[in-house]
Symmetry: C2
Subunit: 304 residues, 2 copies
């Protein structure tokens, strides 16, 4: 029934993980797995240097000012090691696009989690030098983290200021205006963490969306992330709405001429007519049909 | 009243251009202007070589297979000239971002046209070698073209297959699935143009959105485009809808767990409740308020 998780966790643990994923709660497992044993024997995962030798894409360096993805720089594999040696973390994006087996496993995990077809899923590899780590932030996506090399600690805390954020945010930085528009209370100056999760080689951690977290590498560390940017219900509705409205050339018409009073009035009156027709049309919209349209209609898969 | 067009055209011509822009029709002017005289004296616009010397960004090369933006490659300024010498057109993106005066003039033209704040406006420079040009295509944006160096012919034809397309399309290529979903009839194999517009130095051409066009350079040619990607009414509605719905944590909630029947039913039932609340809420939405929200609300300007 579970096509990838069965290689990652014992049966009873799979159910615990699934419960955590569905309720957006932290899950951790300190053990080893068939999947981890496969990966650890691959030369590229044996050290940061070896991974760099296998990598052909660009590398994101997490600069030291924020120790965070909010402050990154793209460098070549050639340059990456000197940043790493200076204590900076490296991020390798979209490993799945370079590795067919990885992509297959990622697809299987998509199936196991039952994510929407509108999900953007990918594999990320984080190389963190001993003593390095990320500053407190939260992500809008969910991550399943497999610790490959070295030990790394994670501190996580539920977010009391906002549920289901649609944007990542680093503590102490200026917040995105859209994010600010819906937070329940201002972000604090610091986070008091209650729990530390120390991951060793083979450990697994589920990082729920929106949870504050920071990390610290006790050794030179390599970790593999399965990252899922899940669509929200707003996204599902917007996709369906767009697909429907663009069938009309009037909805597709451009907004221009707002500076002349005559023309602006004309444009506004057109928009009123369109909005009125939508107010009536939307009454017959069916949630099941919309969801089916997104999940099962023909056309390009967005999940890659 | 017109802050930029007054430097570009005589008074009586401005009204003709404005009428064409508002009704999405071709406009051309073969004359000279205060603005053109300013530009032609700038060293960078005196030749392709000089422009390349002044340019610090990347250059898009239009490869010979399609002679079109659908087939491009990014190269350095250093490499660009050899592609040009082999007959390939060069595109320099976003000149306004490198030139403050250009950005000011672009902003003035935005005001003269009365475009929405959600418009993406920019300056493009096209360098086309003698004998070169673009293959037949249409754009979803509108372009005001000022011919700076050499002579270049344009052929334009109204699009009988689709009005107000939201995606560009090159004749003979596979069409974007979204575009295919709303065309009135299949695209033809070839376009029979009725009219040729030969631009000489200082000539101006308004290229309406969606009109088929192709070009041919009679000499080495440099042209400056004022390009406006105008939002559609669908875009305006979607932005307002999103801003409103994301205030609810339930609308922001992620779509996951669609593979288990119990969980999928629960999710669908939540979506039904959300959709029902929208069906009722939308009845009080006001077209004028939505437009004001997009055009006059605080927050970041998207127009840059």
């Amino acid at each position: 029934m579970f096509h990838f998780l069965s290689r990652l966790l014992p049966k009873e643990e799979i159910n615990k993980l699934m419960k955590s994923v569905m309720s957006n709660e932290v899950y951790s497992y300190n053990g080893t797995s068939e999947y981890f044993n496969e990966l650890k024997n691959l030369p590229k995962f044996s050290s940061v240097t070896n991974f760099l030798d296998h990598w052909t894409g660009e590398v994101d360096v997490h600069l030291l000012d924020l120790k965070d993805e909010a402050s990154t720089k793209k460098v070549s594999t050639h340059e990456a090691m000197s940043y790493y040696d200076q204590g900076m973390g490296l991020l390798f994006n979209d490993l799945n696009l370079f590795d067919e087996k990885m992509q297959d496993d990622l697809n299987r995990l998509c199936g196991d989690f039952g994510v929407s077809r509108a999900t953007m899923s990918r594999n990320l590899v984080y190389a963190t030098p001993k003593g390095g780590g990320t500053a407190t932030h939260f992500d809008q996506n969910i991550n399943l983290v497999l610790q490959l090399k070295g030990r790394k600690s994670w501190w996580l805390k539920e977010n009391e200021c906002v549920r289901n954020p649609l944007t990542r945010h680093t503590l102490g930085t200026i917040s995105d205006p859209e994010l600010s528009s819906y937070i329940d209370s201002p972000f604090p100056d610091s986070i008091k963490y209650d729990e530390e999760y120390e991951l060793s080689e083979g450990s697994l951690l589920f990082v729920p969306k929106g949870h504050w977290h920071k990390t610290h590498a006790h050794d030179d560390s390599l970790a593999l992330n399965f990252t899922f940017s899940l669509p929200s219900w707003v996204d599902i509705l917007s996709m369906a709405l767009r697909a429907r409205l663009i069938q009309s050339e009037y909805w597709r018409d451009s907004v221009i001429g707002l500076n002349s009073e005559t023309s602006a009035k004309e444009k506004l009156s057109l928009f009123e007519t369109l909005l009125d027709s939508l107010k009536s049309d939307i009454q017959s919209w069916d949630a099941g049909e919309i969801l089916s349209f997104i999940e099962f209609s023909e056309g390009e898969e967005s999940n890659e």
